[in-house]
């Protein structure tokens, strides 16, 4: 069995992000990490591998060269191999293009199951999973919180739905979108770290898998950022004073009602 995991290297939540070029571009402090939600996907693939033994876990990312580091982390955790599809100057804001490239890779490399994280914490799109599944004509299940060991070409999973939980059975091949709570991602063992340090991670051109690169250019992007803005800061906090807690509570309700008008 072969499990593909799609991952993204993203700016760390602590990284400083500056708007430059008159709002047309962003400068991100050089602090990148493997996307928080993707770690759950890698971990889950590894757990399936541990239970089923004969499983290959392949991790793939579409992004700039620096993303190799995120892929090394995946190898350090225990993935069998990793592939970077170099976005070069093709990097666009359109998730449809990323999905096109990743599904092209999936078709070319082959898979029985695809796992990915709920969303990237940089663009916060949460789009790639369903898009890739649609392009590959396979079923997807979102917000998965539990994956049982696949058996007989099927897998049972638990997922969140509006106001509840659902257990579903999905036929392979399928794509599962995992979220926090499904597992606790492992901290890599030093043997994994050593393997990752030495791992040769291929950097491929999107054209390698017969993806029509002309349809993946900036010009072809159907959505693009026109400008960036800083979120409007709030005015400084107004502390509610009072002799007692009761008095403070009373005054708070008054300002919420009369000044902020939210009550």
């Amino acid at each position: 069995m072969k499990i593909l995991v799609f991952v993204k290297q993203v700016a760390d939540t602590e990284a400083r992000i500056t708007i430059t070029n008159n709002g047309r571009s962003l400068e991100v402090e050089n602090k990148y990490a493997l996307n928080f939600f993707d770690e759950f996907a890698i971990e889950e693939a590894l757990r399936i591998k541990e239970r089923l033994k004969d499983v290959e876990v392949v991790v793939c990312s579409y992004g700039p060269k620096r993303s190799i580091e995120a892929l090394r982390t995946a190898i350090a955790m225990g993935a069998d191999r990793a592939v970077l599809i170099d976005s070069k100057d093709l990097d666009t804001d359109d998730p449809l293009i990323t999905a096109k490239i990743l599904s092209g890779f999936a078709k070319g490399d082959g898979f029985d199951m695809i796992l990915c994280g709920k969303q990237a914490i940089d663009d916060e799109n949460a789009t790639i999973g369903p898009m890739v599944a649609e392009m590959l004509h396979i079923p997807h299940v979102g917000l998965v919180t539990k994956i049982e060991t696949p058996e007989g070409g099927e897998v049972r999973v638990d997922r969140d739905i509006e106001g509840g939980r659902q257990t579903v059975k999905v036929k392979l091949p399928c794509l599962l979108i995992v979220q926090k709570g499904i597992n606790e991602p492992r901290v890599p063992l030093i043997t994994g770290v050593m393997k990752a340090m030495k791992a040769n991670i291929p950097v491929l051109d999107p054209a390698t898998y017969g993806i029509d690169v002309n349809s993946c250019t900036k010009e072809e992007a159907k959505v693009k950022v026109v400008r960036y803005e800083s979120p409007g800061g709030r005015p400084p906090v107004k502390f509610i004073e009072g002799a007692t807690a009761e008095e403070k509570a009373k005054r708070l309700i008054k300002v919420l009602k009369e000044e902020a008008r939210v009550l």
């Binding site: 580091e69 901290v187 050593m194």
Partner: protein, 382 residues
């Protein structure tokens, strides 16, 4: 000239940093507060394999180069110096002489389990009346049948009260000074070997430090670690530079933790209607701290690079230890000024850095002794 970490080293640094952030950082305050050896964390951490960091892959180590070792020492100290002290004792001084001179049986019994975290190692140098002045060591050993008999008391022993074995610095003849020094392995359970007073330390809490007593302890022949008698001081020389650089790396780790705390505070803390980071006097502090830390970092990693390339590194190692520690003290001091009165409260982090940093003054030689050594070496015999 190339000052850049290799891609592999860079990846190693980020992975270690992430591991420390996840496993150790969240527990650092608790380790300090409780001042008890964190057994659960020890088991969790040692399972990852880092304790074999500097030993060859054939025996289950990682064969890390010296730069990688420094990266590790720096990062783990950034997490918790208390815990770092115990970990590094197993990695470096507590096991070095076993790795170098131990018989297969000794390696099997002590070294390999220590690399897996199943046994806790330590090294005993310091005594009540001698620290940096190793020539004044009073713990003695004499030939007794097919082995050796050891007598003496050691003080300030990291991991001492909980160790499974220790490498003891002892003299064959106190009148010989440095020329009588030797290393002997003593294992827990050996008659006459016991643990005495546990020191209630100001900082580096969580690592247990204390007294070890050798009362007529007999060990077999093979427990004398060294090819020749009385060559201990030379054997020590093999690892002393790494120990000093390691202390410098730990100082960098604390300095970075303190600096990060200061930076976050300066950006966020509002005084007189603005973040305090807009004030020139605060900015000056960051310019100063960053300059000092860059200089210290260059020294430590330059020393590690020299060591890795088998270059003469005695002076740079002593200088790097001394300088990085002084920089660390300065950065921690600045943090307590930037942070204001809350730095004085146990609730907040600065006081921990403030206490921890001071411990680095002593390990690897006091700065007074180091300066004397550096000056003496430079000027030469007159």
């Amino acid at each position: 000239m190339d000052f850049q970490l290799t891609e592999a080293q860079d990846f190693f640094k980020k992975t270690v940093a992430d591991t420390i952030d996840r496993l150790i950082l969240p527990k650092a305050d608790e380790i300090d507060e409780k001042d008890e050896f964190p057994w659960n964390l020890w088991r969790e951490f040692s399972r990852l394999g880092y304790l074999g960091l500097r030993y060859p892959e054939e025996i289950g180590g990682m064969n890390a180069d010296k730069v990688m070792c420094m990266i590790f020492y720096e990062e783990i100290a950034r997490g918790s110096v208390g815990f770092a002290q115990s970990v590094i004792m197993n990695i470096l001084m507590g096991t070095y002489f076993l790795y170098r001179f131990g018989s297969d049986a000794i390696k099997e019994r002590c070294l390999f389990p220590a690399m897996r975290g199943e046994k806790i190692a330590t090294m005993c140098f310091t005594e009540d009346q001698s620290g940096s002045d190793l020539g004044a060591t009073r713990t003695t050993f004499v030939r007794d049948g097919s082995g050796w008999r050891i007598n003496g008391t050691k003080m300030w022993i990291t991991n001492g009260p909980i160790c499974d074995f220790c490498t003891v610095l002892a003299t064959s003849d106190p009148t010989k000074g440095l020329k009588g020094l030797n290393f002997l392995l003593v294992e827990k359970g050996t008659p006459g070997f016991s643990s005495g007073q546990v020191i209630n330390k100001l900082g580096c809490r969580g690592t247990v430090t204390g007294e070890l007593i050798f009362d007529n302890v007999w060990v077999p022949e093979e427990n004398l670690l060294g090819e020749e008698l009385d060559k201990g001081v030379f054997y020590l020389g093999e690892v002393l530079d790494e120990v000093r650089l390691m202390t410098g790396a730990m100082a960098l780790g604390i300095a970075r933790a303190a600096y990060d705390e200061a930076l976050e505070f300066a950006r966020k803390r509002i005084a007189f209607g603005k973040p305090i980071g807009v004030n020139q006097l605060i900015r000056e502090k960051f310019a100063e701290m960053d300059t000092l830390m860059n200089a210290a970092r260059l020294m430590v990693y330059y020393g590690a690079w020299m060591l890795e390339n088998n270059m003469e590194s005695r002076i740079i190692a002593a200088e790097a230890k001394m300088y990085a520690t002084e920089v660390c003290l300065k950065v921690v001091d600045e943090l307590t000024r930037i942070y204001g009165a809350n730095a004085f409260a146990h609730e907040y982090k600065p006081q921990r850095f403030f206490r921890d940093a001071r411990f680095l003054l002593y390990g690897g030689g006091t700065h007074e002794v180091l300066k004397d050594f550096i000056g003496r070496t430079i000027i030469g015999k007159l």
